[in-house]
Amino acid sequence: MTEQAKEEWGTRLGVILAVAGSAVGLGNFLRFPGQAAANGGGAFMIPYFCALLVLGIPIGWAEWTMGRYGGRKGFHSAPAIMGVIGKGRVARYLGIIGVLIPLGVSFYYVFIEAWCLGYCWQYVEAMFGGTGLGIDTSASVDEQTKASSAFFGEFTGQSANGVIFEQFGETALFWLAVISVNVFFVFRGLSKGIEKFCSLAMPAMAICAAIVLIRVLTLPANPDAPDQTVANGLGFMWNPDFTALAKPQTWMAAAGQIFFSLSVGFGVIINYASYLKKKDDVVLSGLTASATNEVFEVGFGGMITLTASFVFLGLSGTIGAVAGGSFGLGFTTLPVVFAHMPLGNLIGALWFFMLFLAAITSSLSMYQPTLAFVQEALGTNRVKSTMLVTLLGVVGSSWVVWFSAGSVALGTIDDWVGTFLIVVLAAIQVILFGWVFGIEHGRKEAHTGAQLHIPPVVWFIIKYVAPLYLLITIGRFVWETLPTWIDGLAANPVARNTVILIGVVIAILCALVFLGEKRWRALGMDVDGDYPPYDEAPPVTPASTPPADASKRA
């Protein structure tokens, strides 16, 4: 027996904020503006909102529905729930991806989280006379960018593998601190830990973002370059280039941004929704969580980052910042911007604290699915399960921290697990939901307790459009990108060994599914989804009646 059945959300708002917290991450503030600016500016919002409405929200609803249905059967992990939805062993083993993604991504995400906390600390120190990031504002912008880049390289161990542990400086301490905080809140449980933290962290994040936004929007024009105004900075992000709409890559980029931003296909929503009760709404809750994510992405991310960069660095500097990717923009360019900004240390501290909150609400959601799976598969209590998940998390994250040079281990896991497998899992989930579980069954299940009615066209999208889009995306990846990635593995031993590490994790998860299935069958649980949930009246025929209260026993 386990304590799984006792876990549940305290409030409806709590679960919405927890799911939204999982979705809101660094990508909202750093990736989105770069994608928009590079793909048509304001015109990018047309394919972006189309993708939100026809892809992100419908797939999200499917995940919420599957999760709650699995929870009613007494299951909380992706392998077990997908076994029920997909009615068999193949779907159950494919469900391992739903644990591998959050666990694998957590390996590097807590490291990035430590950078955010570390940068925040540098700004707090600078407010009280510390040296901060060591950017000399009297030097040329190039020199300042070099100084900022050098700090980032040193802080994140870009120079050599093992340097972070060998020196055991601030980075290692912040890394240990964020792992401890994550373990603490996950151990406290769903309601007292994750829900409580997200209920405080999400409003705090919004307040920090609002203060930074007000500061950025009230910046005076750059005295050295009168054209570098807030209005022109907003124009860099929002002025539409309608020719971009004719390019297929703009539409793919918009769909990709929505997809990764909403955390669909991540293995988190299915786990979080499994703790809902039969009559709990999933339709409005899913929509609200997505809408919250959009406020942080468009309302804050789309207004702050590039505008601030434009005012201080101008057009060429901002184009260079966008080309530098999310890390370049967030950890190299923005510190230069903050160095020039009135109240820059305070704004820098708030900005990185906000990124830290965005990261920790996401990383908490990465540990919980793994914890639920371990607990469910082995029948261990929360203490033992937390210890096992902590061990897995620390070993995996230590690998990323040790092989820090060039962020090779981080990049490899991000590519294979945090990018490719997300699309694969979403495709599997949406196909199982639309074609095995059945659209009619899914429609009835989603509308149980729902406060909103899902338009009929959404079911057409879930059955045909979403799988087609995802399969095309996977096909394009396999054709265009996969060969390059495989060549990259052959050329780089660290990348190759990191993929082997991912393989070891998959082997461990397979073993857990094997043990779990034996245990669930021994408990008489409906492992293959043959019967209605226990809280539904079963068919009266004796042959199809499940063992009494079987699914309650988990």
Binding site: R12, L13, I16, G41, G42, A43, M45, F49, A231, N232, L234, G235, M237, W238, N239, P240, K279, D281, L284, S285, L287, T288, A291, T292, E294, V295, E297, V298, G299, G302, M303, Q451, L452
Partner: protein, 33 residues
């Protein structure tokens, strides 16, 4: 910033903030079981 840029920005912000306010209003005013 061009006029069309202003229009796209205002429409986008109105949509995301409006959707979020509408959703939260419905969630918070829903009758409790």
């Amino acid at each position: 910033m061009t006029t069309s840029g202003i229009v796209f920005m205002i429409l986008s912000l109105t949509f995301v903030w409006g959707l979020a306010f509408w959703c939260f209003r419905k969630v918070l005013t829903a009758p409790k079981d």
